[in-house]
């Protein structure tokens, strides 16, 4: 049974149709990559799955772990095990990462009927994930993403993912803004956190380079709101060599 199943998904953003009948099935233990030209609807897919206000679903369905994902509020989707890695992580002045992340984790645990994590246990977990991503744990005491470099923001996203330990992660251009070393650290972090038999990942990326570290089982090409081609890892290499136009045509 697939962990995430998208059937004929269509949506509108500000009255404009973006996704136009997108279908995709992702099983547990799988890593999928979605590639595609600018404006194809990649980020829209990520936001729609995350439940961002303004991304109005006009057709189709999404089932996540056997439940109707589209009927859930964004925070309920998170509690159900969905994680959205932002292309542009949002800065939140005045709110420290540790404070918000602990509240978020405990809110998720409460929804799932689990006991809250104590302050000490939480800090230990956060430090462990920061070490995995080679992020100075002191940075987690600072306001969320404020004053972080592009690379630090992406690593902090992955620290959050490690702490929240989701079943399924949609990572929207997590590789953008990363230098070569950071790309390797983030790639290895994704593998360590998510490469497990009961988890799955949907990577949204423009480039092959992240896929050198996080090897996808399936690669899809998204163009004009639909999946136009699917294949194995070799498809990403073909895209890299020939460009989208040749492959999509």
């Amino acid at each position: 049974m697939s962990l995430l199943s998208i059937t004929d998904l269509a949506n509108e953003v500000a009255g404009k149709p973006i996704l136009k009948g997108l279908s995709l099935s992702i099983g547990a233990g799988e890593i999928h990559a979605i590639m595609g030209p600018n404006g194809a609807g990649k980020s829209t897919l990520a936001y729609t799955l995350g439940g961002r206000p303004g991304y109005e679903v006009t057709g189709g369905s999404v089932t996540f772990a056997g439940e109707d994902l589209l009927a859930m509020e964004p925070h309920e989707r998170a509690a159900a095990g969905l994680f959205l890695g932002f292309q542009y992580p949002v800065e939140i002045p005045g709110v420290s990462t540790v404070q918000f992340l602990r509240e978020a984790l405990n809110a998720q645990r409460k929804t799932r009927g689990e006991e809250p994590l104590s302050g000490g246990a939480f800090l230990k977990l956060a430090r462990e994930k920061a070490a995995l991503l080679k992020l100075d744990p002191e940075m987690l005491k600072r306001p969320v993403n404020v004053g972080f470099s592009g690379g630090e923001k992406k690593r902090a996203e992955m620290v959050q993912m490690g702490v929240l330990d989701p079943k399924f992660a949609i990572l929207d251009e997590t590789d953008s803004g990363l230098d070569i070393d950071a790309l390797r650290i983030v790639g290895e972090g994704i593998n360590a956190i998510m490469r497990k038999p009961d988890k799955a990942v949907l990577l949204i990326t423009h480039y092959q380079r992240l896929l050198d570290y996080v090897k996808p089982d399936f690669v899809h090409v998204l163009a004009a709101g639909r999946i136009v081609r699917s294949g194995g890892p070799e498809l990403a290499l073909e895209l890299e060599e020939q460009g989208y136009e040749a492959v999509v045509a």
């Binding site: 439940g51 961002r52 509020e73 964004p74 998170a78 939140i92 709110v95 959050q160």
Partner: protein
């Protein structure tokens, strides 16, 4: 701002947005005075809370080089008003941080008059307001730089967050300058919570009310930054927020 014999009217600028009916219940209001000797340092925290109207009036005189840090949380369940007049002698410093939280039909307000009477004094005012329901939050702040008060540095930062379209914020930072070579800045902004931030927090699992409370607490705590009892004030502000959310 000494004790007034008759109840003010809305024609008086400082009372323009006041809840006069509530004011009547506590009238007359005695002025509390505070004088800092030259070089003296003091901090004071005022929490205006409770179920009935609270109106306080302060007159502060700062001697040369004195430093006064005043923090205010105006978050009662009825009309809450603080007016404060501060006169600064040479090189004195006045730091003011105030947060107001109101909901329902409530009016909360802060009225300040900061007088730079001599050179090189510094005043810094930060006011943050969170207003829901049909509440009204006011800040009327006047900075007066007297003749010869060169080297003055005065700033006012006023921001309000409206939780509902029916809430009202009135912000009137005002500068009156009679000296050259002074640095005065003021700014005010009235807005709503950042939707992108709220979605980001929700995407991590925070329910909407918790996400809002977290962002608003951060917003209000800007008024308490660096205060000796910053944590207590921030916690009290959060408790007040929970009532209006």
């Amino acid at each position: 701002m000494s004790e007034l014999a008759t109840l003010p009217t809305r024609h008086e600028e400082d009372w323009r947005y006041a809840d006069l009916a509530a004011l009547e219940t506590v009238w007359p209001v005695a002025t509390e005075t505070l004088t800092l000797a030259p070089g003296e340092q003091a901090t004071r925290t005022l929490v205006l809370d409770g179920d009935s109207a609270v109106v306080r009036d302060l007159a502060v005189t700062l001697g040369a080089g004195a430093e006064f840090d005043l923090r205010v949380l105006n978050a009662g369940k009825a009309y809450g008003r603080l007016s404060v007049r501060v006169v600064l002698a040479k090189g004195a410093q006045f730091r003011f941080g105030a947060a107001q939280v109101a909901g329902g039909e409530q009016t909360v307000e802060i009225v300040t008059e900061v007088v730079h009477a001599e050179p090189d004094a510094v005043s810094n005012q930060i006011v943050r307001q969170v207003l829901g329901g049909r509440a009204t939050g006011n800040y009327l702040g006047r900075v007066l730089v007297e003749r010869g008060a060169i080297g003055t540095d005065g700033s006012q930062s006023v921001r309000a967050m409206l939780l509902d379209r029916t809430a009202t914020a009135n912000a009137r930072p005002e500068l009156e300058i009679y000296a050259d070579d002074v640095k005065c800045a003021h700014g005010c902004a009235i807005g709503e919570l950042d939707r992108e931030g709220l979605f980001y927090l929700a995407s991590r699992g925070l329910p909407p009310a918790a996400a809002k409370a977290l962002m608003l607490q951060a917003f209000l705590s800007e008024a308490f930054a660096g205060a000796p009892d910053e944590e207590t004030l921030t916690a009290a502000a959060l408790a007040a927020l929970e009532d209006v959310l």
